[in-house]
Symmetry: C2
Subunit: 172 residues, 2 copies
């Protein structure tokens, strides 16, 4: 237990880090929820939640996909996707059927209704964009920056977690 002594330290004190930390992690947290809130309002017309919309975006591009692949696109696991997909199925937007070739896998496929919904969804991005006041180019730049962050964070998480890698810093 290192007794911290710091009163006159010239290094960035831990206290300041704690404040800075609050700002970046809180900023992203708040931004995510703000986005969620705007999407919630706009998607209400379509009867979709924000994560359900994300799933539909993927399906509109792929039309048919096993749950596993869907999870890879969205970085979500079956614990999240299974109940979500059941709701989409109950809403009549998708159909789920076990693959004939591999009985473990479940194929998710759009219904006609699900395909048709895309036409109404085409307005969503424009309404979102006008909410942000950002242009296409600004959006692109910001997205690239955020993706860098995500990539770095995922890499760090992968180093700390799995059975293969032993963290040098044990919990003590």
């Amino acid at each position: 237990m290192a007794g911290a002594s710091y009163p006159g330290s010239m290094n960035t004190p831990d206290d300041d880090w704690l404040r800075l930390d609050q700002q970046i992690c809180f900023s992203l947290h708040a931004a995510s929820r703000a986005f969620n809130g705007v999407y919630r309002q706009i998607l209400k017309d379509l009867g979709l939640t924000y994560p359900q919309y994300l799933v539909m975006l993927v399906l509109w591009e792929h039309d048919e996909l096993p749950v596993k692949k869907l999870g890879e696109h969205l970085r979500l696991d079956s614990g999240t996707l299974s109940p979500l997909l059941k709701r989409l199925e109950a809403a009549g937007l998708v159909r789920r059927e076990r693959s004939a070739r591999d009985e473990r896998s479940v194929e998710v496929r759009l219904t006609e209704e699900g395909v048709a919904l895309r036409a109404r969804a085409l307005q969503v991005p424009r309404r979102i964009a006008s909410s942000t006041g950002f242009g296409p180019e600004e959006v692109r730049v910001l997205r690239a920056r955020i993706d860098e962050l995500t990539t770095a964070l995922d890499a760090a998480a992968a180093l700390a977690e799995p059975q293969g890698g032993s963290p040098a810093t044990g919990p003590s």
Copy 2:
């Protein structure tokens, strides 16, 4: 097909917006969860979740605060904070007591244990920062950009939602 062309307009077509929308909203969603994942690992030692950590950050700065004020700092409502605070209380980190001056209000106050936890939390921001690989300046720039986004989104949500202020009724 849906290839509606806008003769004289260089506007981004709906299809492109949909694709771009997929990327930006997914990016932010993924980044938020990636952050959550990294914090989860680091905070496990402290016995805190990420939102609980955010609450503690505020309390370490204010020491005593009514639930309402806490919610304003974090943009969270009592539906989220009440159970969260009960868990922090069960963990012995905070105490909740009805205000004497206003019986509607509940004052949240750190216990000695809660205050003491701050010393262990001082390492967290450094570990997060190293996970991102971003320097302080990069973090500042990105944060500013994200905050712009949040501000714009909140403003848009406020216009669309409230009871009195329908867009038509809005002040010109």
